[in-house]
């Protein structure tokens, strides 16, 4: 393990005094140590990558820096002076701006009003000087190259990517020495990411320091000058980017050597029996008459790739009858079926792990056991009366099977990490012993270690003969897991790849071709 010593050594190697320095910062919430000794030093005009698994303490650290949370221990200096902001306003006054992951824009106000919301230009009567505001907002957007939107538009009219850039523009309105970007690229397309990077470069040349929090290591290598890795609330690693490698960063984050990807030794477990087939299957949003046709065999893992908006999620939702299907035929194990509600789909043997775990998958404030049995309550009750022992037994059995790390079946689901929450969702469906499992972004918000575990579990399910349909935006994930990959675009299947043909280039080629075909005539 690399200790604080290394961190200091790294910092002292640079001659200019750091603009921001943290020394052994600690913060506990109740018994949970969110930060347990974070040390970090940011130079003027430096892009400083901050990475770590979920729960490593990145968010808490940002909250400390921007005055939302007060640290329990440790010293922070800003330009050589002690820095302890009590409120976000104070942090801003000190030249520290943050663009948080969750959007802080007011959807029904205009772009200009959002940019100036903290200090609207006013005349002597307190009336907003609208023209001045709009002109200055225009200039602010132009400064970051965002000239394709009108500052009078309400924010709700903008796409997620534009909103993100408006946030950046707002953060830059005040003269800032440090800009913190929390997962800024999570919602951006590659072109918009390029634009953001150009903005970051420009800011760097003006001497602004940027703390760049990201899950994407390639981006960190692209844009950062230095990178700090947090693990379990501690700084474990901080080095100039040139002196490290992706492999080393992953090891530092995980704290152990990742298992070699199992891709090479994977053989298809598909059996000849058909599990699910779609024939010209359409839902309300699919524009084409031909709809989607596909076959899924028992024990097969079928991946679905496609750009955001290509209709992948909608397809899964329609199969699970979360949304009403429109037309076309659905066969389950050869027999024609049609579902009018999620209940009918579930009773027929379909399980659906949704994309949004917190909104659709789990009841966070209810016990783990209640979440596990939510779809199979009739198995753990008699005459409508719950058998708590049976519930706990099911939870413990599935918990052991899925290697769930939890305090006990009566703990709330909210107490679990992302990976373990996802395992609870999987347990909920396994408790029903489904024939087909639909998985939408199965490892979203799951850290690197838990990801590998979930992959292994998915393979185990296939071994048992469960048919799996997986939607994922992470191509390496799809290529690791799938026996076959279908590429979707504009609610159609535009390509199919078998395992030997897998490559990111080919998948993307199909996906973009599909887009263009549609955009053409």
């Amino acid at each position: 393990m690399i200790t604080v010593e290394t961190v200091r050594a790294g910092a002292s190697g640079v001659s200019t005094p750091p603009v921001l320095e943290l020394h052994d910062v600690k913060k506990a919430f109740g018994g949970t140590k969110a930060l347990n000794g974070v040390s970090l030093s940011v130079q003027p005009g430096e892009v400083h990558g901050l990475i770590g698994e979920n729960g490593a303490g990145k968010s808490t650290l940002i909250k400390v820096l921007c005055g939302i949370v007060r640290p329990d221990e440790g010293a922070i200096t800003l330009s050589g002076r002690a820095y302890a902001p009590a409120t976000p306003r104070e942090a801003k006054a000190n030249g520290l701006q943050v663009v948080l992951q969750e959007f802080n824009l007011l959807p029904y106000l205009s772009v200009a009003e959002n940019i100036f919301v903290e200090h609207l230009p006013r005349n002597a009567f307190g009336v907003v000087k609208r023209q001045e505001m709009n002109a200055r907002a225009r200039a602010a957007l132009d400064a970051i190259g965002l000239n394709d939107i009108d500052v009078r538009w309400p924010v709700e009219r903008l796409g997620i990517a534009h909103r993100q850039l408006v946030e950046v523009a707002r953060a830059l309105m005040t003269e800032s020495r440090i800009l913190i970007l929390d997962e800024p690229t999570a919602t951006l397309t590659s072109r918009e990411t390029e634009r953001l990077f150009a903005i970051i470069d420009e800011l760097r040349s003006r001497g602004v320091s940027i703390i760049f929090v990201s899950h994407h290591l390639d981006e960190v290598f692209r844009i950062c000058d230095r990178v700090t890795v947090l693990r379990n609330g501690e700084t474990v690693f901080s080095r100039p980017i040139a002196e490290t490698s992706q492999d080393e960063l992953v090891r530092a984050m995980v704290g152990r050597k990742l298992q070699q990807q199992m891709a090479s030794e994977m053989v298809s477990l598909a059996r000849p029996e058909e599990a699910l087939s779609l024939h010209h299957f359409r839902h309300v949003q699919s524009p084409h008459v031909e709809g989607i046709s596909l076959n899924l065999h028992k024990g097969e893992i079928l991946g679905i790739a496609g750009l955001v908006g290509s209709g992948r999620t909608e397809l899964l939702r329609a199969i699970a009858a979360a949304e009403r299907p429109l037309s076309g035929a659905l066969r389950l194990e050869g027999a024609p079926v049609s579902f009018r509600s999620p209940r009918e789909a579930i009773n027929a043997g379909i399980g659906f792990v949704t994309e949004d775990r917190k909104e659709e998958g789990l009841i966070l404030n209810m016990p783990i056991a209640s979440n596990v049995t939510l779809a199979s309550l009739s198995d753990v009750s008699r005459a409508g009366i719950l058998d708590r022992k049976a519930e706990n037994a099911v939870t413990e059995r599935l918990g052991a099977e899925l290697k769930l790390k939890y305090g006990g079946p009566d703990r709330n689901a909210a107490t679990l990490s992302g990976g373990n929450q996802q395992k609870v969702v999987l347990a909920k469906w396994l408790a029903r012993n489904p024939k087909v499992l639909l998985l939408d972004e199965p490892t979203r918000g799951v850290d690197v270690g838990a990801k590998a575990e979930i992959y292994a579990l998915i393979r185990q399910f296939a071994e048992r003969g469960l048919a799996l349909l997986i939607v994922s935006s992470e191509l390496p994930e799809l290529m690791t897991l799938s026996d076959r990959i279908l590429v979707m675009s504009q609610h159609r299947v535009v390509g199919e790849l078998s395992r030997p043909e897998f490559s990111e280039e080919r998948i993307l080629q199909y996906a973009y071709q599909g887009e263009q075909q549609h955009a053409g005539p």
């Binding site: 600690k26 506990a28 919430f29 109740g30 018994g31 949970t32 140590k33 969110a34 329990d72 221990e73 699970a320 979360a322 509600s341 999620p342 209940r343 789909a345 579930i346 009773n347 659906f352 949704t354 909104e359 659709e360 998958g361 789990l362 009841i363 966070l364 404030n365 209810m366 016990p367 209640s370 939510l374 779809a375 309550l377 009739s378 009750s381 409508g384 009366i385 719950l386 708590r388 305090g407 009566d410 703990r411 709330n412 909210a414 107490t415 679990l416 909920k428």
Partner: protein, 337 residues
């Protein structure tokens, strides 16, 4: 902070959320119970007549109707709804029940049985409509029950031509003031309803799903449960309890008037909220509601014995409602992340 014991990550988050079955709920209810106890001690010491058998049974009689209404309200609030119509429905159920009760040539038993069926039936129909309309069209129950508030009140006035119904069978009236060991029988009925509601909410699949819907209805729907059924059921249960409350009202006061029950919905909501149930749904217990109803009842009675005017009492009750919610928030913030 170093001194803090190493605990499983999650103890903190766990402590701030409650569900009907966790032991933490007992602690929470114990907190409300403690507040009730302090009130009782305070009034016992500061007033002369508070801790007398007579006054206690008085209080129990006074809170009975609010308690029954609040039990129904708990079901509705747990799924994230609200029922503003219970006061009007009480009047409507009472005049329908009262009309049946005064049908000549029926034996007392027949009259009371039929009247109970009629009153509860009326409540069930109104409650069903509340639930069905708001679930089917996806309307906020606040609006739908605001409509029902007017409809039921109008119906009560229409049915009776704005007249009061009285002269019920004397034995029915006697039942209303019956005591067992100094405890009013009607209060025991309310307690029985509390016990049944507690069982349903904490021990059955039905109750589990009500909590589930209050917390995350989409997750419950995607797990294969019909939201419609549970939502309609919660409102229907509330309606049925209004019917029972209407019978108790008539037994106690020996009248059925179309203008009774004005503002009762707010008292019921207050009892539920003071009892620690979240207005957002998904969190709370019917035991809390029992304690909440007792607190409002003890407060009302005690403050008057204390020599305060009814107006002052009303103001203080208002303060207590706000305090209860603040304490709840504070507790959440204190233990939460």
């Amino acid at each position: 902070m170093q001194a803090l014991e190493k605990t499983q990550a999650g103890d903190t988050a766990d402590a701030r959320r409650f569900a009907a079955w966790s032991p933490k709920v007992l602690l929470r209810d114990a907190g409300i119970g403690l507040a009730l106890l302090l009130l009782i001690v305070f009034f016992s010491v500061s007033t002369e007549h508070f801790l007398t058998a007579n006054n206690i049974s008085n209080i129990l009689t006074q809170i009975t109707i609010n308690l029954i209404l609040a039990v129904g309200m708990t079901f509705v609030i747990l799924i994230g709804g609200i029922d503003l119509s219970v006061g009007s429905m009480l009047a409507f159920c009472a005049v329908v029940g009262g009309t049946v009760l005064t049908i000549p040539d029926l034996s007392v038993f027949q009259a009371v049985t039929l009247a109970t069926l009629a009153a509860v039936g009326t409540g069930v129909v109104c409650g069903f409509l509340n639930g069905w309309i708001s679930a089917f069209w996806g309307l906020p129950s606040f609006i739908v029950t605001l409509g029902m508030l007017n409809i039921a009140r109008g119906a009560a006035l229409q049915v009776t031509d704005a007249r009061t119904i009285y002269s019920f069978p004397p034995s029915f009236n006697a039942f209303g003031s019956q005591m067992i060991f100094g405890i009013p029988v009607v209060f025991l009925i309310a307690l029985l309803l509390v016990a049944i509601a507690w069982f349903v909410l904490s021990k059955t699949v039905f109750g589990r799903l009500l909590y589930g819907i209050g917390n995350n209805e989409e997750a419950v729907r995607l797990a294969g449960h019909s939201l419609m059924f549970y939502k309609v059921a919660a409102f229907t249960i509330a309606g049925a309890l209004v019917g029972i409350a209407a019978m108790v009202y008539m037994a106690r006061l020996n009248i059925a008037s179309p203008i009774i029950g004005i503002g009762f919905e707010l008292n019921a909501i207050a009892a539920v909220i003071i009892g620690g149930t979240s207005l957002n749904g998904g969190r709370g217990t019917v035991i809390g509601t029992l304690l909440g109803a007792c607190i409002t009842g003890v407060l009302a009675n005690g403050l008057i014995l204390f020599g305060l005017s009814d107006f002052m009492r009303q103001m203080i009750t208002g303060v207590v409602i706000i305090l209860a919610v603040i304490i709840d928030k504070y507790r959440e913030r204190l233990t939460g992340v």
